[in-house]
């Protein structure tokens, strides 16, 4: 079933210096429960695309449909996670996690029980009264994820969610977050510039062209091994083939 559909999306930014065509006639369908990655050269319009899906910017042309309904403003069905966790320093972890619920006036027993349950399940219970600066990068990212999940969105938009972490932590946290997301059965659209990350997490990888972003290729990622955890699939025989394929598609040059 199609969860999200982007139809003929074009975005042009207007500034005093001129206009920038960020996305041109982009069409994409994302299936329910799918983990989809977008890779493309930096500045090609990936974040712009996520902002359009999130209803934060209006496309110059085209429409976004979720469950066949057109969306024009931020929707409850969408949760957005950024490169940095943006936990508020002045709020405790718990207060940060319930921020979205507070804003939407949904601080009721059911939702709070759900939050408690996730805190427990994802190992943050003991830290709920800590301030963000007392937590490690990985734990902060997990807190940011629970903050997003607390609103129970169907679709998660992840914009380079692990880019701010160092390599070791990134592997562990992406594995961790992947399991949580799969566990909760969410549909995911993730932007990354890390090809290995895209291959190891995704069901499909969309390769975008230079700006203005167009779809260059879409790859189905399938592994022959049983345990499909992001760390394990890095050892699968198909892994480096996918990696090389995407590397070639991206056509990266050092100038």
């Amino acid at each position: 079933m199609i969860k999200l559909r982007a139809k003929d999306i074009s975005v042009i930014y207007h500034t005093l210096d001129g206009e920038t065509e960020a996305i041109k006639n982009l069409n994409l369908e994302v299936k329910e429960g799918e983990f989809l990655s977008l890779v493309g050269p930096s500045g090609c319009g990936k974040s712009t695309f996520l902002n359009v899906i999130a209803g934060l910017i209006k496309p110059s042309k085209g429409q976004i449909f979720i469950d066949d309904e057109e969306i024009t403003k931020p929707s409850n069905k969408i949760g957005y996670m950024f490169q940095r966790d943006y936990l508020f320093e002045w709020r405790t972890i718990y207060k940060n996690i319930i921020l979205g619920l507070e804003i939407q006036n949904k601080l009721n027993g059911d939702n709070l029980r759900m939050v408690e349950y996730m805190l427990q399940k994802y190992g943050l219970s003991a830290f709920k009264n800590y301030y963000p600066r007392q937590l490690s990068g990985g734990m902060r990212q997990r807190a940011a994820l629970i903050r997003t999940l607390a609103l129970n969105p169907d679709i998660l938009l992840l914009d380079e969610p692990f880019a701010a972490l160092d390599y070791q932590t990134r592997l562990a946290v992406s594995d961790d977050i992947y399991k949580i997301i799969k566990n909760e059965g969410k549909t995911v659209i993730m932007v990354t510039h890390d090809i290995a990350e895209a291959v190891s997490l995704s069901d499909r990888v969309v390769v975008l062209s230079k700006r203005p972003a167009r779809i260059k290729d879409i790859l189905e990622i399938k592994f022959s091994i049983k345990d499909r955890s992001p760390i394990k699939v890095r050892e699968a025989p198909e892994f480096k083939d996918y990696f090389n394929l995407i590397w070639k598609e991206l056509d990266i040059h050092v100038e």
């Binding site: 950024f82 943006y86 508020f88 002045w90 921020l99 507070e102 804003i103 301030y131």
Partner: protein, 271 residues
């Protein structure tokens, strides 16, 4: 059993802690010593007629006057009046300034339009408005408070508004993804992120407010420390002037400490 929770340090670390403590004590001791020496030499040189007590007063004469003021019940009235005017001045200056900053943040068009006017008003020495204010609101306490408030108002508007604009765009974006209204963005991100800016404005305003109140009292007052200073000067009583200045310094110091301690209270999450 009770000692179980106590952390055992190495000898070297204990020595280090001891030295740190020793140094702290030494610093406080030296600070007090400077005060004592300063007043002692003042008294001695005055008695030996090396300096003229008529021109620079003398600690014992100031003390005598202090006791006299205390006995006729005027001491605390003067201190209270001045502190009251100052506190009202900087609290109002900070509050009203922050409200204006919120208005400018809300209507960006307005803030762009008003920008040059704010710059001009900021450059203007507010004391120059003293006579106008006295003309408008009369020769009394309201005039003093308004002068104090005027001094801190514009600079508060400008600095707090600048603080609002520096709030991380991405934090605002995060709230927008939750569907937050503009008011919620103000309440949940912009104001809390700006608490440090507002507190530092408050700290600056304490100093500005003292200046405003003392000048205001010079101009119109019948009571207060500023009044005592002017009065003492007019009747050639330097004891009164010096004593008032010393009380003023102590009051200003205490007030600054109190306001600075607000910082710890509101910014607890930093430590």
């Amino acid at each position: 059993m009770l000692n179980e929770n106590k952390i055992e340090y190495s000898k070297e670390h204990e020595l280090f802690l001891k030295n740190v403590k020793k140094r702290k004590v030494l610093i406080v001791f030296t600070q007090i010593l400077i005060l004592v020496l300063f007043f002692a030499q003042w008294e001695i040189t005055a008695r030996l007629k090396i300096i003229d007590p008529f021109l620079v007063s003398q600690p014992t004469r100031m003390l005598k006057f202090l006791i006299k003021l205390y006995q006729n019940g005027e001491l605390f009235r003067h201190i209270f009046v001045t502190c009251y005017e100052t506190i009202v001045g900087f609290v109002l200056g900070t509050l009203i300034g922050t409200v204006f900053a919120v208005i400018l943040w809300w209507w960006d068009f307005l803030s762009k339009v008003l920008e040059p006017y704010l710059v001009v008003l900021n450059a203007l020495p507010k004391i120059a408005l003293g006579p106008i204010i006295i003309f408008w609101v009369g020769n009394g306490r309201p005039a003093i408070i308004i002068i104090a408030l005027m001094i801190s108002l514009i600079v508060t508007i400008i600095s707090v508004h600048a603080g609002f604009k520096e709030v991380d765009e991405d934090k605002i974006k995060l709230l927008k993804t939750f569907g937050a209204s503009k008011f919620q963005i103000l309440r949940y991100v912009v104001l809390p992120s700006s608490v440090p800016t507002i507190i530092s404005a408050l700290k600056i305003n304490v100093g500005l407010s003292w200046v405003g109140v003392i000048v205001g009292e010079f101009l119109v007052a019948k009571e207060g420390l500023g009044f005592l200073i002017v009065f003492g000067g007019q009747v050639a009583q330097l004891d009164v002037v010096m004593l008032s200045i010393i009380i003023l310094s102590i009051a200003a110091y205490i007030m600054y400490i109190l306001v600075a301690s607000l910082e710890n209270k509101f910014l607890g999450w930093k430590n």
